[in-house]
């Protein structure tokens, strides 16, 4: 039983990180209908911002940890908005395939610039937050795991608030449904799209910090696998659906952790992707997605 709870906690904290990344994929898909493959590398840059910002603050303090988190979120928001402005906006109105290929190009650009600027060798992420283990019976909970779950939960609540209770969030939903109608009420689609990239990238930046806190070896290609998993999580939840992305991330992280702890651990990725295929066979639009038919 305690073994089960332990794995569940580990799974949820991994899943919360996948969820944070998946949200960015799904929100961008919502407004632009394409997969921003460079998103995984924004996550990687978030870790590196944290690595360098971590040198400026004392290790193991709450204020230091939160400053690093904030720096990574802001830096990634700016990076995401710049990518949209420079790479994707000039292609507005071109076929989706062109934009997808551009996204792959931006992804490679970030990965190889990362190797040039940060070096290809892995670095050890500093312990930015105070670190302690809590023991509940046979259950061990590290303060890093608690930080991941708490920070991810707060960010997802904040996102929920922005999307459903603010004017810009409502405009995001309007643009994602019908960009033309949005223009006709005076919404500047470019501003909303830019905001969406900023928001999604900030979450990826936070994900980069939380991931590096628990898996402290970081390198310029570190975004590839978590990015792929988060992409799968977004599809699993129903691409374009914000709650779906959160659910998909938690589910995938949990399944992966349970499989890793079992005798089939070698096949953990195969099993995770196998589950994706099975779910999509039965629910082609994902768990919470629906094929919306526009009433005209």
């Amino acid at each position: 039983m305690s073994e089960f709870l332990q794995q569940l906690l580990n799974g949820l904290s991994l899943g919360a990180i996948y969820a944070l990344i998946a949200l960015g994929y799904t929100m961008v898909y919502g407004v632009l209908r394409f997969i921003n493959f460079a998103h995984a590398d924004v996550f990687m840059v978030g870790s590196f911002i944290g690595y360098y910002a971590g040198k400026l603050v004392p290790e193991g303090t709450l204020w230091g940890g939160f400053s690093v988190l904030l720096a990574a979120m802001l830096g990634c928001a700016l990076l995401g908005m710049s990518i949209e402005r420079l790479a994707y906006r000039p292609l507005r109105g071109s076929p989706t395939l062109n934009v997808l290929i551009t996204a792959i190009g931006v992804s490679l650009l970030l990965e190889y610039s990362g190797q040039v600027f940060f070096g290809a060798a892995p670095r050890t992420f500093p312990p930015i937050f105070p670190s302690q283990n809590f023991q509940f019976g046979s259950l061990t909970l590290s303060s890093n795991q608690i930080a991941v779950i708490v920070v991810a939960a707060l960010l997802m609540l904040a996102l929920q608030f922005i999307v459903h209770r603010t004017k810009i969030g409502t405009a995001m939903r309007a643009v994602s449904l019908n960009p033309r109608a949005a223009q006709l009420v005076g919404i500047n689609n470019d501003v909303v799209i830019s905001f969406t990239f900023g928001l999604g990238s900030a979450l990826a930046g936070a994900g980069g910090i939380l991931y590096a806190m628990n898996y402290p070896s970081i390198d310029p290609l570190m975004g590839v696998m978590p990015g792929l998993k988060a992409f799968v999580a977004a599809i699993l939840g129903g691409i374009g659906n914000i709650r779906g992305a959160a659910l998909g991330g938690l589910l995938l992280g949990t399944v992966e952790t349970f499989v890793s702890g079992s005798q089939w651990s070698t096949y953990k990725d195969a099993i995770a992707f196998g589950i994706l295929i099975i779910i999509l066979l039965f629910r082609p639009a994902g768990l919470l997605g629906k094929f919306t038919v526009e009433k005209v």
């Binding site: 004017k167 409502t170 405009a171 449904l177 109608a181 006709l184 009420v185 005076g186 526009e294 009433k295």
Partner: protein, 235 residues
């Protein structure tokens, strides 16, 4: 108030408008009638900035808006209720109205506009929390008009408000269109395939055929015109 001069618009190789010109005076209800594919929707989309003309100009309140972005045209008081309503079906009625006032910063005036929308369309008030996609076509049309009114328009363009709507709601909606014009002094450009109805509520009419204006005049006179009767009013 609005004038369009020698507008040419095409979709790739297809010419949708081949040089149309007209002027609309402040305070009027003017209608643009014509069969399916005549170019009515294209005309409205070009005026509201969703499409760009190949040549020709659109002038609103004395200023050339031919190159102005759609969201900035709304800011000048020109609102477009699109064909097929295009309400935000994933948002509530309340949120749709809030989006209509996206650029409006005067809270007191927004509240007055909202009250006015509820006065003319009380059903919207009853369904404030309902998701717009679950409303009937007629109520969605009311919402689309209400949403445009929240933008505090001086000039309102309506694209086939009778399309796909229960007959008993069509007359309500047309009465309200006349009311909006009389009570609020909002100038209206009404696009319709249902020429009978459109000529009844308007004072002036233009008839469009394959991208050209083929006839225009006082709506009353046109209703009696044998040529127009044959073409649009079913003889």
């Amino acid at each position: 108030m609005l004038s369009v001069t020698d507008l040419h618009v095409s979709y790739g190789a297809i010419n949708a408008l081949s040089g149309i010109s007209f002027t609309i005076e402040q305070g009027a209800i003017v209608t643009l009638i014509g069969g399916n594919g005549a170019g009515k929707t294209t005309t409205l989309r070009t005026i509201s900035g969703l499409l760009r003309a190949k040549t020709g100009t659109v002038t609103f309140l004395g200023e050339d808006i031919s190159a102005t972005a759609a969201h900035q045209i709304v800011a000048r008081g020109l609102c477009h209720v699109p064909e097929g309503r295009m309400v935000f079906s994933n948002l509530s009625v309340d949120e749709n109205l809030a989006m209509g006032a996206y650029l409006q910063t005067d809270a007191a005036r927004n509240a007055r506009n909202r009250d006015y929308v509820f006065t003319i369309f009380p059903r919207l008030k009853e369904r404030l929390r309902q998701t717009a996609g679950t409303l009937s076509g007629g109520v969605q049309q009311m919402l689309a008009i209400g949403r445009a009114l929240m933008g505090n328009p001086k000039f309102l363009m309506l694209d086939e408000p009778s399309l796909g709507i229960a007959p008993r709601l069509i007359s309500t909606i047309f009465e309200k269109i006349v009311e909006i014009n009389r009570e609020r002094g909002i100038t209206i450009l009404l696009v319709e395939q249902n020429a009978n109805l459109a000529l009844e509520v308007s004072s002036y009419a233009f008839a469009l055929e394959t991208g050209r204006i083929v006839m225009h005049g006082d709506s009353k006179k046109l209703r009696a015109d044998p040529q127009l009767k044959a073409a649009y009013l079913g003889g």
